[in-house]
Amino acid sequence: MELRRRGFIKLTGAGLAASTLGALGFGPSGEALAAAVRPFKLAATTETRNTCSYCAVACGILVYSAGDRAKNAKSNIIHIEGDPDHPVNRGTLCPKGSALLDVVHAPTRLEQPKYRAPGSNEFKPVSWDFALDRIARLMKHDRDANFIARNANGATVNRWLTTGMLAASASSTETAYLTWKTVRSMGMLIFDNQARV
């Protein structure tokens, strides 16, 4: 079956004369239009499909940023709405999802690791290396002190019950699998891979 040819065309101010406008005697209308648009330019917005970061429902969202990615301009998120094509939410969002734009631009948004030393009353920005080393060190201390290799009957159980972990709901299946393997391999049982609302 031959579907209708698309016939891509470039419409320019100068080209209007060779269109039906010219052929029907509306040339002056075309010239008036070409003159009227001369001072204007197109401003670009980029529409990006994403997933809401909040809960396990994982609603689809459309994120709008000013500027198109191709032109090397600094993009700035200007609008977020529910994705009408996403089968989970069909464009709807809960109040938290509807407020995502304010989360993006919140002055209090956490953008780097912060550390409050014991006895101190303020958080100070620290490097990722420091934060990860510190977490690893404290986990090791706690696990060494509280790891249960055998239960009262002498059966091997290898469990670690004094530390828990809550992982992200918006992560991919692969990330969730790796998180699960990493945490379970240390014997940790208090673990959820879903940030329930």
Binding site: M1, E2, L3, R4, R5, R6, G7, F8, I9, K10, L11, T12, G13, G15, L16, A18, S19, T20, L21, A23, L24, G25, F26, P28, S29, G30, A32, L33, A34, A35, A36, V37, F40, K41, L42, A43, A44, T45, T46, E47, T48, R49, L62, Y64, D68, R69, A70, E81, G82, D83, P84, D85, P87, V88, N89, R90, G91, T92
Partner: protein, 308 residues
């Protein structure tokens, strides 16, 4: 509901989907309103427009189409089982293979007689005269080339009226198709009824799903759902950008695809509830000119504004 008055019987009485529904895949045209809406909208948009003269003329063309649609009456669309057989392989009234009933030429004659030329340029009158005199063979040949999308330079003017008559004919054909058995084509950018290109997209503010995008057929006015933020020509989404004239309401935008170098117009009902796909496409020619001058090609032409 006050608690404690009713025993819980374990039956859920709410809406199991919480009001979240899938959008209708295909919406068939209503010939009773299709052309009169366009005419009203064109007349409204013409006021103060740099192309007022032309838009007024297109409004009177749409009024003439409305009159012809009323006279032509419902056409015998393929019967249900017959249409379903066809849908398996091709859109049921595929413009490229459909054998037109001669009644479309009666529609064309009525259209040419009925159009109120008013203050239109003398050239328009001449084009109408010569199309009327071109006879059945000439009109059929022109209709074929309009549907193929390649019109000779000499016929560019007459192609507008031919396309307008074909729109009435195909809209009357499409109105009674069995909507539940229509299937979106593998090439989602083409009409599931007749396989033609859309004139533009409209992002709904009302209907089953707020914000769903519908493409509107340039020939039979069928509307069909198309995923947003995906190019309607090449189905890519990597480098799509929405362009709008700075300081505008945002009701009219061009969706530009850097992958295939084309753009298509999208109208947002959230910016203007009265948007009409055909009328607004013609009245936003400035967007075409700006996109064209940036080097982008239009995804397909509007049959009422053909460029050689």
């Amino acid at each position: 509901m006050r608690q404690g008055q009713m025993l819980f019987n374990g039956k859920w009485t709410g809406n199991p989907h919480g009001g979240v529904k899938a959008p209708q895949a295909v919406i068939l045209p209503d010939p009773a309103t299709r052309f009169s809406r366009t005419a009203t909208r064109l007349a409204a948009l013409a006021a103060g427009h740099p192309m007022a003269e032309w838009l007024d003329f297109m409004a009177s063309l749409a009024r003439a189409q409305h009159a012809v649609a009323g006279v032509m009456g419902p056409l015998g669309s393929p019967s249900r089982p017959e249409a379903e057989d066809v849908i398996e392989v091709t859109p049921p009234i595929a413009a490229s293979v459909h054998r037109r009933a001669p009644i479309w030429r009666e529609g064309l004659a009525l259209l040419l007689d009925g159009i109120d030329i008013g203050p239109a340029p003398a050239l328009a009158r001449l084009v109408i005269e010569s199309l009327r005199d071109s006879g059945a063979d000439g009109q059929e040949a022109l209709a074929d080339s309009v549907l193929r999308g390649s019109v000779d330079a000499a016929d560019v003017g007459a192609s507008v009226f031919t396309a307008a008559a074909l729109q009435v004919y195909f809209t009357r054909l499409a109105e009674s198709l069995p909507v539940s058995s229509l299937r979106l084509l593998p090439r989602r950018g083409l009409c599931p009824s007749c396989g033609s290109t859309p004139v533009c997209g409209v992002v709904n503010e009302s209907g089953e799903v707020r914000g769903a995008r519908y493409l509107h057929c340039s020939l039979c006015a069928t509307a069909w759902n198309h995923v947003r933020a995906v190019c309607i020509t090449c189905s890519q989404s990597r480098s799509l950008a929405l362009g709008a004239i700075k300081g505008d309401s945002g009701a009219a935008r061009v969706e530009i695809c850097g992958d295939c170098g084309t753009y298509a117009k999208m109208f947002y009902q959230s910016g203007d509830l009265d948007v009409d796909p055909v009328a607004d496409d013609l009245a936003t020619l400035s967007l075409d000119v700006l996109a064209g001058e940036e080097g982008w090609s239009r995804h397909a032409s509007n049959p009422l504004l053909r460029i050689r």
